[in-house]
């Protein structure tokens, strides 16, 4: 089974980075979260209810929908804030990429650790632009709002292809497929990573890897 990979690109102003990332990530997670599973006898289970809420962006003319799960929101906001700080501190031209990867765990025998097999990866490439005056910022507010709308439509299009989804697990396997740590909702197991592209166009992580390889080669 190949991992499905989707790439989205956005160009935003510095102060819009956080909200744009939250909008995209929450839209994806809305579709990749279910209610909490309650297993019963005879291998049946019932599913809790997922609430939703509208979030207005302050710096973008846009409103997005997220699941009503404050814990999940906190986790996503923390990851996005780290990404934004890394973008700001990198001294690069303001290009980076944040990835949301959904994976399944495959139990391995001892002494090997569990394997994480991704089945869907969403990569959001961000390009930060600098604007000169308030009029440009106003135009950017609306433009980015429209672009995010297009991204939401793209996301919905991909989701509704109904491609591979992990099978619904038994009670013993549920932690290999879903993140059961939250109390309100149950998203598929996911991880968020990011990388900042330096001005040479190479990612910092690639440069580090090369450095280490070169050092070891001596």
């Amino acid at each position: 089974m190949n991992c499905r990979s989707e790439v989205l690109e956005v160009s935003v102003e510095g102060r819009q980075v956080e909200e744009a990332m939250l909008a995209v990530l929450h839209t994806i997670l809305l579709h990749r979260s279910t209610g909490k599973f309650h297993y019963k006898k005879e291998g049946t289970y019932s599913i809790g209810t997922v609430g939703t809420q509208d979030v207005d962006c302050d710096f973008i003319d846009f409103t997005f929908v997220r699941v009503s799960a404050d814990e999940l929101d906190r986790v996503i906001r923390k990851a996005v804030a780290e990404f934004k700080d890394a973008l700001g501190n990198s001294g690069s031209d303001g290009m980076g990429q944040i990835s949301l990867e959904f994976y399944q765990k495959k139990k391995s025998r001892w002494p090997f650790s569990d394997e994480c097999i991704p089945w869907e990866v969403w990569s959001i490439k961000v390009n930060v632009v600098n604007l000169a005056n308030e009029q440009e910022r106003q135009i950017c507010r609306e433009k980015v709002g429209e672009k995010l709308g297009e991204k939401v439509i793209n996301i919905v299009e991909v989701i509704n292809r109904h491609d591979y989804l992990p099978k619904m697990p038994t009670q013993s396997e549920v932690d290999n497929v879903f993140d059961t740590s939250l109390k309100d909702v149950q998203p598929y197991l996911y991880k968020i990573t990011y990388q900042i592209t330096d001005s040479l166009g190479t990612s910092v992580s690639t440069t580090m890897r090369r450095l280490i390889k070169d050092t070891l080669a001596l």
Binding site: G43, Y45, I47, D61, V65, E142, I155, N160, H162, M168
Partner: protein, 485 residues
């Protein structure tokens, strides 16, 4: 085809489709109420949340949807549509979008009804939640209130998209295959926001009495019979079951099985509770908003639209009253007039313009509104240069005389506008035009790169000559230096 489906599966599928249709309508209408929606997650299944999503049921909306369905289900050739339109305080209306729930003949016989179809329908509802915030009508609905309201209409049968104007766009929310056909949910939305009206100025009242009361909140004087939305939660019902419509709501307590599909368990139970007395809802609008703010924000939103809209140039960004707008538009009414909207004394009116009203209260239709000027200032065509300032009344009357012949094909009338506190003796233009014109002044000539580059080039060219002169007079320079020492 159907014989492959067990009767239990068929019953379940019909139920899923029915409640999917009802929830679709709820999501769409609630997304156009003009306020942010928020529902809570619940880790324990309550049994009443279809598709495991917390979507409130506005009773009036459910009633309208059930009335439109009239006991049928969306099926092949029978689409359920929710039409969203905008109605101004003067009575002009414009269709903004039409959401269509359709079914085609492509069947997926192998799909499991009570598991896969159910989960995919749930996913489709989530997609609908996301997409309803993305279409242009969402922003308009968030700004509704004093100047315009958003209405909805549900109908069943053939999809009607002609009211959306030219160049409307479509977005597909998603599809779900079922053993009896493929369910498709999509939205067609208007891109041409020019409000056209066939009601010409000869029917307009005097302009003067309407314009200049800036910053005074005027109620919807023509909309006395439309009221703010006051939908009732189940706890506030007036008692009594609703006659004629099934008065039991089926509760979904769906269990799923992780065992092989043949052992799939799905229990759906019925619970009986009273539905509130039906109240026909049309106007789902929030309490009145600050006029100046809403107009300014609205104008800024729509001043930068996609090329499909053409150059949408709104009137000046200063605040202005509901009655006075620089750009007038004429709206082609349906059937040659304002769509008849039935009157409604206590609640909102039914958003069933175009349908023959028949209400329990026996209300008469709303009479055509005499109108002064249409207040939504949107023009699709490039604006001409700003007209010289002239009294608003004068220009309106002069334009109205040219239109008194009743030319329904004219797009709009340019009317110059004089905002409050502006003087036109020093500069013959108003604040908005001044702001636009002087917002991006040209760069100073002395700072331009060409000039400096040119002078540098000239300097470089003259250097050899200067050096030659200095070399020739080198003795003089040496003597001069000696005198200094």
């Amino acid at each position: 085809m159907d014989s492959d489906l067990s009767s239990q599966d068929r019953k379940d599928l019909d139920k899923f489709i029915k409640f999917f249709a009802l929830k679709t309508v709820q999501i769409i209408v609630q997304a156009r109420l003009g306020e942010k929606i928020s529902t809570c997650s619940s880790s324990s299944p309550t049994g009443s949340d279809w598709f495991n999503l917390a979507i409130k049921d506005i009773p009036e909306v459910t009633h309208e949807a059930k009335k439109a369905l009239a006991g049928q289900l969306p099926g092949i050739g029978r689409s359920m549509c929710v039409e969203i339109s905008l109605k101004t305080s003067e009575g002009d209306s414009m269709e903004l979008e039409t959401w269509c729930l359709e079914m085609n003949e492509k069947c997926d016989k192998d799909i499991k009804v009570s598991y896969t179809v159910y989960n995919r329908l749930s996913l489709l509802l989530k997609s609908l939640l996301a997409i309803t915030r993305v279409t242009p009508a969402y922003k308009l609905s968030r700004k509704q209130g004093h100047d315009y309201v958003i209405l909805y209409r549900i109908y069943f049968g053939d999809v009607q998209l002609t009211g959306l104007g030219e160049g409307f766009q479509s977005v597909r929310v998603g599809v779900v295959g079922t053993p009896i056909g493929t369910i498709t949910l999509s939205c067609a939305y208007r891109t041409n926001l020019a409000l056209m009206s066939s009601r010409q100025f000869e029917r307009t009242g005097p302009i003067m009495g309407i314009i200049i009361d800036h910053f005074v909140e005027r109620p919807f004087t023509n909309m006395a019979h439309m009221h703010p939305c006051s939908y009732r939660t189940p706890g506030e019902d007036e008692g009594g079951t609703y006659a004629g419509i099934e008065d039991s709501q089926e509760v979904c307590t769906t269990s799923f099985s992780t065992s092989p599909p043949s052992q799939c368990v799905c229990t759906v139970s019925q619970a009986h509770f009273k539905t509130p007395k039906p109240a026909l809802m049309a106007t789902l609008k929030v309490p009145l908003m600050g006029l100046g703010v809403s107009q300014q924000l609205y104008s800024s939103r729509l001043s930068y639209q996609t090329p499909a809209l053409g150059t949408v140039d709104l009137c000046h960004p200063t605040a202005f009253t509901a009655g006075a707008h620089p750009h007038q538009m004429v709206v082609p009414g349906k059937e040659g007039g304002v769509p008849q909207v039935p009157a409604q004394p206590n609640h909102g009116t039914a958003a069933e313009h175009g349908r023959i009203p028949s209400f329990p209260n026996g209300q008469s239709p709303l009479p055509a509104q005499p109108t002064s000027c249409v207040f939504l200032c949107l023009q699709v065509h490039p604006p001409p240069s700003p007209a010289p300032s002239s009294p608003l009344q004068g220009s309106l009357h002069s334009n109205s005389s040219s239109h008194s012949g009743g030319q329904p094909q004219d797009d709009f009338v340019m009317v110059d506008f004089k905002p409050a506190f502006s003087k036109d003796d020093l500069l013959p233009m108003d604040l908005g035009t001044f702001y636009r014109e002087f917002q991006n002044p040209p760069q100073l000539a002395s700072l331009s790169i060409d000039v400096s580059a040119q002078s540098m080039a000239e300097d470089l060219d003259s250097l050899p000559e200067k050096l030659a002169i200095y070399e020739k007079n080198i003795d003089e320079f040496d003597a001069f230096v000696d005198t200094l020492q």
